[in-house]
């Protein structure tokens, strides 16, 4: 089990600094999670730390591709508004 970073990532370093397993590294074009090291923080923290600090919606997914921070969940901007401004494509 491991989380993954999507191409929504902005390379802000926040996740890499808080990962208890040192599983996240700078890569091109964006940070990547080493699936051999990632534990989803089980046993260390109540929430996966990368997903708890990540400021970008849809940047972190679980093994099933489910967003840990879905659109609108961090900013409170209604998804319809995001779609209206071309900031979200719609159903994923």
């Amino acid at each position: 089990m491991a989380l993954q970073i999507t191409d929504a990532c902005l390379n802000c370093w926040a996740c890499a600094d808080v990962c208890p397993n040192d599983a996240i590294a700078l890569a091109d074009p964006h940070f990547l999670i080493d699936e051999r090291k990632c534990t989803e923080c089980l046993g260390d923290h109540a929430e996966p730390q990368c997903a708890a600090i990540c400021p970008i919606e849809a940047a972190i997914v679980d093994e099933l591709g489910v967003y840990l921070n879905p659109p609108g969940s961090l900013t409170g901007i209604p998804v319809a508004r995001l779609v209206e401004f071309g900031l979200w494509k719609g159903a994923a």
Partner: protein, 509 residues
């Protein structure tokens, strides 16, 4: 220098405007030791900002809170606003850049780490810069700008690195207000939301403020004015932070445009008008020193405020330089000479203003009516296309106008109004439409509230449009010191009887 700010000086502080020479800015009422510490800091001193340069290095990308006015995803080359940065630097690159810039721009006095995230959410990178620079460039002042969440944890380390200025952004002291500004914070390994998040943030900010001032570290407080959210509340914020020892309060206007992708931008939150901002700054000024020359610069700004030179120092160029190529010793000697010369010049200007002459015309007006109470001449706002303290720019070339208030008691700097708003928007982003408001109309709208605009020259078309919207263009004071020119125009208005009446109602621009 040319910015005597009268209303900003604290009453009864034993230091009237004339007594302090100029009280050149909001700093006039400060104790001498603090004034001495900030006199070469362009971000704190209205007089210093014309002469001294600063730079920010973007080494702190991570953030630990979300503000509703921020979305770092949308970085556009036209944008100049906090939190935005085009090039992130490693600590080593940043050191090279600072040393190269400080060698090339001897006016440089200050290095700040301000983002684009929060410096204290990037402690290793941030403190590495400070550690290396205090060794290699001991003459450069170091400062730090933070949201305050981690401040109590790092106060000792801040003190250890000889950082003597810290800016904390404090938008509220009430968690209910905070919940409308901050959707979440990252705190003790959890994402905390809502009122609870705001409560923790406020608690840490206030604690950090107290700890810093207790150690003698200068603290400036930045607040973002968000109409309908914290506008009235900021008066309370000003009182509280002053009581806890902050030496300066900088109220900045919210920047909210849909194209920035922020919550406020997309949800249609209004930005304050220039008049709203000024009203609030005036209301807070009774409580503490207010700062009015802030340019809300980017986290990678370089040079004199308002004249960014970042483009000259891109990483390509810095990477081509090795540290050995920078003759650091002689650069430091040269900086010392340049800084001393500037401070001498500022001292002389301050001395020259120690006894401001009574404006002759206003004196005459008062003399003619000895029996009546002194006529109450209304104050007038004037916009100036100025540079380096003089009326220097062509109306059409001015990227910003400085706004001054003239009244019988003198001339005071009120603020600045940009003409090429943060993002130049439609014109430069390519979706031009003939129906769009023209640049000139926008400029005129930005000058709302001003009755006169002073510039070195002005074209025929803007002249007519300005007059039609009730603003009198004036090109007769080119290259004169700004406040002399503003006072001269005010005296002319007084002499022609234009000031006894209320301000003319303005036609729609």
């Amino acid at each position: 220098m040319e910015l005597p700010v009268i209303a900003n000086t604290a009453a009864g502080g034993g230091c009237s405007t004339s007594g302090c020479g100029t009280a050149p800015d909001a700093l006039g009422h400060l104790p001498d030791d603090i004034r001495a510490r900030v006199q070469d800091h362009p971000c704190y001193s209205e007089e210093a900002h014309h002469y001294f340069a600063r730079m920010h290095v973007a080494v702190a990308p991570a953030c630990n809170i979300q503000c509703n006015y921020c979305n770092r995803k949308y970085d556009c080359a036209n944008e100049s606003r906090p939190g935005v940065v085009s090039e992130l630097l490693s600590p080593d690159q940043a050191i090279r850049k600072v040393l190269a810039v400080a060698a090339a721009i001897p006016q440089m006095s200050v290095l700040g780490v301000a983002g684009p995230g929060d410096p204290l959410a990037n402690p290793a990178r941030t403190f590495e810069i400070f550690r290396q620079l205090s060794e290699r460039a001991p003459d450069i002042k170091l400062c730090l700008s933070t949201n305050g969440l981690k401040l109590p944890m790092y106060v000792d380390e801040i003190a250890r690195h000889n950082i003597d200025h810290v800016t904390i952004t404090i938008n509220c002291v009430d968690p209910e207000v905070g919940a409308m500004i901050y959707p979440w914070i990252f705190w003790q390994n959890r994402r905390v939301r809502g009122v609870e998040a705001a409560r923790i943030l406020i608690e840490q900010q206030q604690k950090g403020l107290e700890m810093l001032t207790a150690r003698g570290i200068l603290v400036k407080v930045n607040s973002v004015l968000i109409p309908g959210v914290n506008d009235q509340h900021l008066k309370e914020v000003s009182k509280v932070v002053k009581a806890k020892g902050a030496f300066l309060h900088n109220v900045m206007p919210l920047i909210a445009e849909a194209e920035h992708g922020t919550y406020y931008g997309l949800m249609g939150q209004a930005s304050p008008t220039a008049a709203q901002l000024q009203e609030l700054q005036d209301a807070c000024a009774g409580d503490m020193a207010m700062m009015r020359h802030c340019r809300q610069c980017r986290a990678d700004a370089v040079g004199i405020l308002g004249e960014d030179r970042g483009a000259e120092f891109t990483m390509d160029r810095i990477d081509a330089l090795t540290l050995a190529e920078i003759d650091y010793e002689s650069a430091m000697v040269r900086r010392k000479e340049v800084h001393d010369a500037i401070i001498d010049q500022l001292d002389q200007q301050r001395e020259a203003r120690r006894i401001p002459p009574m404006p002759p015309v206003l004196g005459a007006v008062a003399d003619e009516m000895p029996a009546a109470p002194r006529p109450t001449l209304r104050p007038v706002l004037m916009a100036v296309a100025g540079k380096n303290g003089v009326v220097a720019e062509h109306f059409g070339h001015a990227r910003e106008f400085l706004v001054y208030e003239a009244s019988p008691t003198g001339v005071r700097f009120i603020g600045h109004r940009k003409t090429d708003l943060y993002c130049a928007g439609i014109e430069t982003c390519g979706e031009g439409d003939a129906a769009q408001e023209s640049v000139l109309d926008k400029t005129i709208a930005a000058l709302s509230g001003c009755e006169v605009v002073l510039c070195s020259r002005i074209g025929f078309e803007p002249w007519g449009k300005l007059e039609a919207s009730g603003i009198v263009p004036n090109g007769e004071h080119a290259m004169e010191p700004i406040e002399d020119a503003v006072m001269a125009v005010y005296q002319e208005m007084a002499a022609s009887g234009k000031l006894a009446d209320p301000a003319p109602s303005r036609k729609a621009a």
